[in-house]
């Protein structure tokens, strides 16, 4: 049994005066303690919604279905009521743009200690002491807990946000674009910190990003999302060296590499809208190697080699690439 097992997760949104949007369409994956897992895709592919659903942090116009098992317990079983007990205690999150996750008028140390009391981890002086320890753990002097977020630099804020997420000793850490607004050097610092935490604390890390090289450097396994579905999942090495879905291959080709000599090409077209029925493979209109059957049949996510799954009809052909 894996630490985290997501199976058949769906999320819908009902915008006012518009058709329902099927933002996440049956996402399944699993990961173990200490594992670093990447969730990549373009904006609007459902990667952020997926991790928000894992924490039950969905807006009121959303509905969800599917199972999110932590140690075999389905935390979504009772909706918002059941997920509350797990949120922040078993699964915590680092948000994109740390400034938004920190309350500007409260001291950083106080904000880290706050959820401890709620989940019965620690209280009063003990909580404050632990907040100091957490700050040290993420590389900030404990004394800085008495300062306000605006006195922190961008990198320190993101570190403080990570300390906040670790407050209740979660088993799973979700990081949504944790380095997007940061400089490369600070990005490297934060990624190293996250990698180290996953290793030392045995955290399962889910890293959500649009940045393929970041996932390639940090994660052991990754899933590529497109139009609300996982289209390919497997070890990051296999995704780069042996992609089995054209989208994965094209995404890598669209990403410039420092020493790369091959031409950087963009993927024509745009992802489909998710407020209607999609027939066939959702990637077919942008695919460079479509087949006839892609028009009518949506390919299933299937095992193509050990630990490597892909949703492409080409994998059924004899002698597929």
């Amino acid at each position: 049994m894996s630490l985290l097992e997501v199976s058949g997760l769906h999320v819908w949104f009902e915008p006012p005066h518009a058709a329902e949007v099927h933002a996440v369409q049956g996402v399944s994956f699993a990961l173990d303690a200490g594992e670093r897992f990447g969730l990549v895709g373009e904006s609007g592919c459902g990667k952020t919604t997926t991790v928000l659903a894992l924490m039950g942090l969905l807006p009121p116009n959303a509905s969800a279905a599917g199972e999110v098992l932590i140690d075999g317990q389905n935390i979504l079983a009772g909706g918002e009521d059941s997920v509350q007990a797990y949120r922040w205690k078993d699964v915590a999150m680092v948000f994109q743009g740390a400034m938004n996750a920190l309350n500007p008028v409260k001291k950083v140390g106080w904000q880290i200690a706050e959820p401890m009391a709620f989940h019965g981890v620690a209280q009063g002086a003990a909580a404050r002491k632990r907040a100091g320890e957490l700050l040290e753990m993420v590389g900030i002097p404990a004394a800085a807990g008495d300062r306000y977020p605006h006195e922190f630099s961008g990198g320190m804020r993101q570190r403080a946000a990570i300390a906040m997420a670790l407050a209740c000793e979660p088993k799973i850490l979700l990081a949504d674009e944790p380095t997007t607004a940061l400089d490369v050097m600070v990005q490297a610092q934060i990624l190293e910190l996250l990698t180290g935490l996953a290793r030392d604390l045995g955290l399962a890390l889910v890293l959500v990003t649009h940045d393929l090289p970041v996932v390639a450097q940090v994660c052991e396994r990754a899933a590529v999302m497109y139009a609300g579905e996982i289209v390919e999942a497997g070890p990051t090495e296999a995704l780069y060296h042996n992609p089995r879905h054209p989208y994965t291959r094209l995404l890598f080709a669209a990403t410039p590499d420092l020493y790369g000599r091959d031409a950087v090409i963009s993927i024509p077209g745009a992802p489909p809208r998710l407020d209607g029925e999609i027939t066939g493979c959702p990637f077919r209109p942008r695919c460079d190697v479509p087949l006839d059957r892609c028009r009518d049949e949506d390919p299933e996510l299937r095992l193509v080699e050990a630990g490597h799954r892909a949703a492409c009809h080409r994998n059924d052909l004899v002698g597929a690439s």
């Binding site: 373009e42 904006s43 630099s153 961008g154 990198g155 400089d183 490369v184 050097m185 600070v186 990005q187 490297a188 610092q189 990624l191 190293e192 649009h210 940045d211 393929l212 090289p213 970041v214 390639a216 450097q217 990051t236 090495e237 780069y240 060296h241 094209l250 995404l251 890598f252 669209a254 990403t255 410039p256 590499d257 420092l258 020493y259 790369g260 950087v264 090409i265 963009s266 993927i267 745009a270």
Partner: protein, 352 residues
């Protein structure tokens, strides 16, 4: 492609046809831009010394037609202020910004206005840089109206259609009456580029032109800029923090740190044979696409220091892994490093 070791051809070609030496498209000479730090009432009362933000502190470089130069650095290094000064939005404290030989730093707002046609800027977030209530047609026509060019309504429309086709929004008539929110990120950025091109600028400043766009469309916008400078009579100054993009598309890279250029040279040379310790560290932390290429990143501690209190001597010495005693005292100037494999390579480090 981007690996041109020497200054690229078009500049020399365009100069050859002229009588006498033509001044470079852009010449930034010893540019210094300092901002006053706002003081509160109490600070004024106790006569606290006026502090200055040393945003740009002695930057010099040239850019020829047909060339693309990338200014690379972390936030706070002064790359955006440099661009703002070239655009004429910020007055420099000292130094010169010469466009085709004319120093725009000395011009008044009124004298500057006709020159604004020569320099156009593309901004990071195309959703923000287009007026949300303007149709594509209005956004592209506006610069013509501002400068009173483009002739009649029909001529303006013809020009708009023409420039939209040039940036790859084809068929242009399909896009004319759309609003920004009806376009994708890549399309919006193309509209912004079209609105810049419509004035026929000689110099295009591109401030992180693709960092807000989806990975799948970035290459398209970058290739468009690449094509424009290659077949137009135009130079592009790209401001970016993304070394991979700079290495791929720019002819030369200038790495900035705390208001100074610390390393400057042909892209391939800077990326493959970096000399300055800051450039080396910066290159080592750029994530590679291939998971097997997990090089040991050389992570500098801390963040770029505050440009209000610039360190003495070499401004990189407090974070430098190889700093020596004299780095505290001596301020290094840009010069040809001993290990350079290109004569155009410059680094500001006492130890190279």
């Amino acid at each position: 492609m981007s690996g041109n070791e020497q200054a690229p051809g078009p500049a020399t070609v365009s100069a050859a046809g002229m009588t006498g030496p033509q001044p470079p498209l852009l010449e930034v000479a010893d540019l210094v831009t300092h901002y006053q730090v706002r003081r509160g009432v109490t600070e004024r009362l106790i006569r606290a010394p006026q502090q200055w933000v040393h945003a740009v502190d002695g930057v010099s470089f040239r850019l020829a037609r047909g060339e693309m130069v990338a200014l690379v650095g972390e936030s706070g290094c002064g790359k955006t202020t440099t661009a703002q000064t070239i655009l004429g939005m910020v007055k420099p404290t000292s130094g010169a910004v010469r466009l085709n030989g004319t120093d725009i730093a000395r011009l008044s707002e009124r004298q500057l206005r006709p020159l604004r046609r020569t320099v156009q800027m593309i901004y990071q977030d195309p959703y923000e840089s287009l007026d949300p209530r303007f149709r594509v047609r209005e956004s592209v026509e506006e610069p013509m109206l501002v400068h009173g060019i483009g002739g009649s309504r029909a001529e303006r429309e013809a020009k708009t259609v023409d420039v939209l086709e040039r940036v790859g929004l084809s068929p242009a008539r399909m896009y004319l009456d759309r609003f920004p929110h009806e376009l994708s990120g890549g399309q919006r950025q193309r509209v912004a580029i079209a609105a810049a091109l419509v004035l026929g600028p000689g110099l295009l400043l591109a401030d992180e032109p693709v960092s807000m766009l989806d990975v799948s469309v970035r290459a398209g916008v970058l290739s468009l800029l690449d094509t424009l400078r290659r077949d137009g009579d135009m130079g592009i100054l790209m401001i970016t923090h993304d070394l991979s993009t700079a290495a791929r598309f720019a002819d030369r890279i200038a790495v900035m740190y705390l208001g100074r250029i610390v390393e400057h040279g042909p892209s391939a040379e800077v990326v493959r044979n970096p000399q300055h310790p800051y450039t080396k560290a910066l290159l080592s932390v750029v994530p590679k696409r291939d998971p097997r290429e997990r090089a040991a990143p050389q992570i500098l501690t801390g963040e770029t220091p505050n440009p209000i209190s610039v360190p003495s001597g070499c401004r990189f010495h407090p974070r430098c892994p190889v700093a020596e005693e004299r780095c505290r005292r001596e301020d290094p100037q840009l010069r040809l490093p001993a290990g350079a494999t290109s004569p155009a390579h410059q680094a500001a480090c006492l130890l190279v």
